[in-house]
């Protein structure tokens, strides 16, 4: 993941959005965002304890999981290291979709790339992981990650804001940078976010009257 994983040069950006704009963040979430988490524990604990996702939800909806491109069959034994990339998906169609399913009947068809738990995992350290969300989980888990706070390279975040249409901006209720309210139009300016390496983006969704 490189130096970006440990930099302290980040800004804190808080946005309040109309709840109907959740899907606007899909491009960021499917390519992945970084979270500061306690590493060394299991993926099940990361999702259940640190991100406070319901355990029943995790087992029933997050049915396709990758750690560093390797399909995971058991989230309770898969351990998360600093710098890991985790991809979470709902159930997938197709034989290969079924093949990738966690602990699925056809897992043997991709046996050569399946995740094998790392025995040398360092425990209880603060680190960063990159989480990608796909399909149904974008709108279901996306708000949880965004509320938790996600780290995004400033240039990428600026480009993301520049790619948003009126639907996004009309749903953007409040913006503050490092605790100070700012005009939302500033987010797309060349030199507003980019002096920082990273931006810690937190998004709160609410019903807009």
């Amino acid at each position: 993941m490189g130096d970006r994983m440990t930099t302290d040069r980040y800004a804190k950006l808080d946005i309040t959005m109309n709840i109907h704009c959740i899907n606007e963040f899909s491009p960021l979430l499917q390519e992945g965002v970084e979270l500061s988490v306690q590493t060394g524990g299991t993926l099940a604990d990361l999702l259940g304890d640190q991100l406070a996702l319901d355990r029943e939800y995790i087992s029933s909806r997050i049915t396709t999981v990758f750690i560093d491109s390797r399909p995971v069959d058991d989230m309770k034994t898969a351990r998360i290291n600093n710098g890991a990339t985790i991809a979470l998906s709902g159930a997938m169609p197709g034989l290969v979709g079924a093949t990738m399913r966690s602990g699925g009947f056809y897992a043997a068809l991709r046996g050569g790339i399946s995740y094998v738990a790392d025995t040398d995992t360092n425990t209880d350290r603060q680190g960063r992981v990159r989480i990608k969300l796909f399909n149904l989980l974008l709108s279901e888990v996306g708000p949880v990650l965004l509320q938790h706070g996600v780290f995004i390279p400033a240039v990428r975040l600026r480009d993301f804001f520049r790619s948003r249409t009126d639907n996004f901006w009309s749903g953007c209720i409040e913006v503050s940078l490092n605790g100070t309210a700012v005009e939302r139009s500033r987010l797309t300016e060349d030199d507003y976010l980019t002096p920082y390496d990273d931006v810690c983006l937190s998004v709160t969704f609410r019903e807009q009257p």
Binding site: N23, S26, P27, Q30, E31, R61, T63, T64, F66, S69, P71, D73, A87, S89, G90, A91, M92, P93, G94, L95, V96, G97, A98, T99, M100, G103, G104, F105, Y106, A107, A108, L109, R110, G111, G112, I113, S114, K132, F134, N135, L136, L138, T165, N167
Partner: protein
């Protein structure tokens, strides 16, 4: 569905129609009818474009009924692309209408002399075959528009575009969807070329005056269908994922797994995949006033398709499938959904298989005709196919021929048919199916059809690292059976996970036919179909040495997992031992 129509296109004095009772094919449908008939009646050494080949068109067992997901139409013949037996199926309205008219199969035989082009009109009054040279070299969209002015909107159409008329080996047969667009294709294996060789441009299916096919036990059928639909709706794949994103929901996951073949299978990860993903596609479709949820035929409850509009809100094409987005996208290094959609439209319009065409363009890129990522170049190559130029004819005959003509060493085909969108090196199990299927490389030949419930081949440890051959065998048997019912393959997920939904499917079949089909009976049907296909291929000269992937899959590791295909030949050779 108690009769079979045979149309001898080469009869003296012009095409001759005869009808016969359904006979030994009673109670069968789809792939069972097409493959058993081709295996029995077509000389295995016949030239696929010659008079000896036959084109068998068969609806599914429940097509034309009120049952859900029953609208697949099978087309079978000896394939010009692979030289093997071929079954290619599609959605759309054709199966439902043909079944309601009462035909278990229509068989095109012989080959006419001369250049006349024919259309066939099938209705309750019978079958007529007419010369219509005004249709010559029309592509599918303008062809259907022209036919609609004469036959209206209450019929279904099957047709070939210019590629089929030119008998290009990647040519498809189009079936119209509920909006009468020629978007649903029997795509694989060059079945459109066989229809073109018979000089049949279009088949008009008119079920005016016909009712839904009645089940033997209407009440039981209605109850089973209700449970079946409930099962589909409550399953996260068929009830949520597919309706929301379509099959292209797979792009992100395959890319994440390192199994997304990129730039002619050079790596397993495409940097532009997020721009091509089903999630991005659905968002774009909705924003532009199209739709991310659409059924290819009436009676579909999954609704995995959609409508893709351009930036001005004008219709471009139906929602391209995952395999299409891959073949024209990542396989060619292209990350623009608008380009993919335009190419998909051209595929449908000219009437060519989207997988084979996309793979062929990627092979042409590898040959240096145009660079990888050249969107405009890809469109220009497709235009060559539409124009029927010498280059276009080469490209339209698929990846294998294009690779030979341009001296490309690494051409991803098995038995002449292009590999679909799943790299067999990280996902070895699908490589087993690609190598051994009777159809040439085909991801749908071994689908996830509830082998766990059917117990095909007994219990298999799901986490066993080896055993891919056993799994593939079981999947191919089960898939052959489901293909024979004419049910959409996407029911697989619900019946895989929900035994009660699988039972509901059996109950539908039994209530309809008054039979007592069990899971074992389904397995036996699958074995019967596969055995007939395998036997045909053997008589056509295919041996175990054809059941192999191209050599580069054994020698060139693919990133990020740096694996090669490593299933031993001896294991592949065990697939048909049952």
């Amino acid at each position: 569905m108690d009769k079979i129509a045979r149309i001898d296109m080469g009869a003296l004095g012009g095409p001759k129609v005869t009808e016969e009772p359904v006979g030994e094919y009673a109670g069968l449908g789809g792939r069972a009818v097409t493959s058993l008939m081709v295996a029995k009646e077509v000389h295995p050494l016949a030239h696929p474009l010659g008079a000896e080949n036959k084109l068998v068109i068969a609806p599914g067992m429940l097509s034309g009924s009120t049952g859900s997901m029953t609208g697949r139409l099978s087309v079978g013949c000896k394939s010009p692309l692979t030289g093997t037996i071929k079954e290619s199926n599609a959605g759309g309205q054709a199966a439902q209408v043909l079944a309601r008219i009462g035909y278990a199969a229509i068989v095109l035989e012989g080959k006419p002399q001369g250049d006349d082009l024919y259309k066939i009109i099938v209705s309750a009054a019978g079958i007529t075959v007419e010369v219509d040279n005004s249709l010559k070299l029309l592509d599918n969209y303008p062809l259907i528009e022209k036919l609609r002015t004469q036959y209206g909107d209450k019929v279904a159409y099957m047709s070939i575009g210019s590629a089929g008329e030119r008998q290009l080996y990647a040519a498809s047969i189009a079936c119209t969807d509920p909006e009468l667009r020629p978007t649903r294709h029997c795509g694989r294996g060059g079945v459109g070329a066989v229809m073109g060789s018979k000089r049949v441009k279009a088949i008009i299916l008119d079920d005016t005056g016909m009712k839904m096919r009645p089940p033997k036990d209407p009440e039981k059928f209605r109850d089973a269908n209700r449970k079946f639909v409930e099962g589909l709706r409550k399953h996260p794949v068929t009830g949520e994922g597919l309706p929301a994103y379509g099959t292209n929901v797979l792009t992100n996951v395959l890319n994440e797994a390192g199994g997304y073949p990129t730039r002619n299978f050079k790596t397993g990860v495409f940097e532009g995949s997020a721009k091509l993903s089903g999630e991005a596609q659905a968002e774009l479709e909705i924003k532009r006033g199209g739709s991310a949820t659409h059924g290819c035929h009436r009676g579909c409850v999954i609704q995995c398709s959609g409508i893709f509009n351009d930036k001005d809100g004008n219709y471009v094409t139906k929602q391209p499938e995952y395999e299409t987005v891959w073949s024209h996208g990542g396989h060619c290094g292209i990350d623009d959904l608008d380009v993919v959609a335009r190419l998909d439209y051209m595929d449908d319009n000219f009437g060519v298989d989207t997988i084979d065409m996309g793979v062929t363009i990627g092979v042409a890129m590898d040959a240096g005709l145009i660079p990888f990522g050249d969107s405009e170049g890809a469109i220009r190559l497709m235009e060559e196919v539409g124009k029927g130029t010498p280059l276009g004819r080469i490209l339209g005959c698929g990846a294998e021929i294009t690779g030979k003509v341009f001296a490309v060493e690494k051409v991803p085909v098995v038995k002449g048919q292009a590999l679909p969108a799943y790299d067999p090196r990280p996902i070895q199990g699908i490589g087993v199916t690609y190598a051994t299927t009777t159809q040439g490389a085909d991801h749908t030949a071994g689908y996830c059809i509830a082998t766990n419930i059917l117990k095909v081949g007994g219990d298999v440890d799901p986490l066993k690292v080896d055993g891919q051959v056993e799994l593939s065998r079981n999947l191919q048997i089960a898939t052959a059976a489901i293909d024979s019912t004419g049910m959409c393959l996407f029911i697989a997920f619900a019946i895989l996970d929900q035994p009660e939904t699988f039972q509901a499917l059996l109950d539908m079949l039994n209530a309809f036919y008054g039979t007592e089909l069990t899971g074992d009976g389904v397995v036996e049907l699958g074995k019967k179909v596969l055995s007939a296909e395998r036997d045909f291929n053997t008589r056509a000269g295919f041996t175990k040495h054809h059941d192999r992937l191209p050599r580069f899959f054994y020698t060139d590791p693919i990133a990020p997992h740096n694996q090669v295909f490593s299933v031993p030949d001896e294991e592949l050779d065990q697939l048909y031992n049952w």
